[in-house]
Amino acid sequence: MSLAQLTLHEASDKLRKRELTSVELTEAVYQRIADTDDKVHAYLTLAREAALEQANRADEKLKQARDPAPLLGIPIALKDNFLTKGLRTTCASKILGDFIPPYDATTVDKVRSAGAVIIGKTNLDEFAMGSSVENSAFFATCNPWNLERIPGGSSGGSAAAVAADECIAALGTDTGGSIRQPAACCGIVGLKPTYGRVSRYGIIAFASSMDQVGPMTKDVRDAALLLEAIAGQDPADSTSINSSVPRYSAALNGDIKGLRLGIPKEYFVSGMQIEVGEAVRSAIRELEKHGAVIEEISLPHTEYAVAVYYIVATAEASSNLARYDGMRFGRRANGKDLIETYMISRDEGFGAEVKRRIMLGTYALSAGYYDAYYLKAQRVRTLIRKDFDAAFGRCDVIVTPTAPTTAFRLGEKTQDPLQMYLSDIYTISINLAGLPAISLPCGFDGEGMPIGLQIIGKHFDEATILRVADTYERATEWHKTKPRIQDR
């Protein structure tokens, strides 16, 4: 077995026991990248030299440290919307040009301080807008399980890198499912924490009221460890919450007796791939075997979530992306005057989907339409949030599929943006309500593509969803199955 296949906690154990050095592990990861990334295309930028330096330093620390942090010496990948000081950050957009950030995102600073080795920056849909990475301005990323399929998005590069063992673990961001859906597509674990649990400072904003950073890992324990390292209040992020960070890894005790699983009836309806429904139902039965109790619940406003999400998210994005104007950083086109310079720089710099969303969001906020679209959507968002409040009166976690289908084929949905948006149906309500949710593997479809199980928790109750996910994972082997990366 290649060292690159190790999970974070396995690698960490070996590093502590000095059975392995961080440099060896890092080299193994780069070797794996050399072998497979010309097929997967997970990375936009590699930072080999700096990474090996970090690995060396980690090895020095490992020699001295009594109780080293779990991340010390662990090679991880970062989605390319995390600002990394001195390391090119593109957000998969041409408009950022060769942007070299002058500072590190708070989460980057945290994993660096914990001794993690930053391997490189992974591909994504431009400005994290998409569900397939097909909106990257540079190239598409392929699903390691089937190179003709999308890896999911927008954190598809991170998901593919984890699934293909091109890193030990990765960080992604999730605005409407961008961690969970690619995790489901690639057969890995992805956790979107409660809004406010993890700092957003230094993450290139898409929709500020929903963006959240989270771990993408090979198993649930890894997700718990990585979340511990990045969670907590950040004085630089007014929306981050002053709430103590539990030791999530200590919550993984396998005990879910009496825990109430809410099953929303609105999530098991037409449009879902049959095998997805079957796999999720069988996962629910497995959890029942471990003592969980099933509660049918209702989230009546689910059908409005896509409309609400695509109004609120695009409105915020239209404003967040105004700073990409070619004045202080990024690409500037030559216009005959100021306004033309703005318009051409942004026309040339942004891809079709980003422009579509900027247009949609600008429209939703513009005079005469604000009340009908933006304000209306924010009112319905309240109703969606109240659905969850009511549901959590009756259950402890909610269990659903992560996505209605397994990974679709590259190019299959690019012609119809609305169809693409509708595939986010199971994930976006969670962002609208600010809840934590995890996706983990729960089976494969007839074509061997992974299926994701989503477990949604109460605000700040990441510990419970991790415990449920871990209990399920212990009873199953899905997460241990590895893709065989074959040429297309």
Partner: protein
Amino acid sequence: MKLTREGIDRVAVLARLRLTPEEQASLTEDLDHILGYMEKLNQLDTADVEPFNHAVNIENTLRDDRVTNQPNADALLANAPARDATFFKVPKIIE
């Protein structure tokens, strides 16, 4: 609400996006389609519903009035498409 070409043009200027005629046509169609879907929100009576405010109710986070940044104009100007001494240089602004 039917989206017109003129409507699209107005929004494109607000958003500072130059659109080719093809983009204009396809965006008009896409947005019209998407906005048509959004109409489903009108099925709901929300007159008595407060707009969503924030995911989690928390206290103000405010900072103390202290200067914590050291001057470092060069670090910020390093990515500038054009500069003049420590100014950002931009196309001529005509008032």
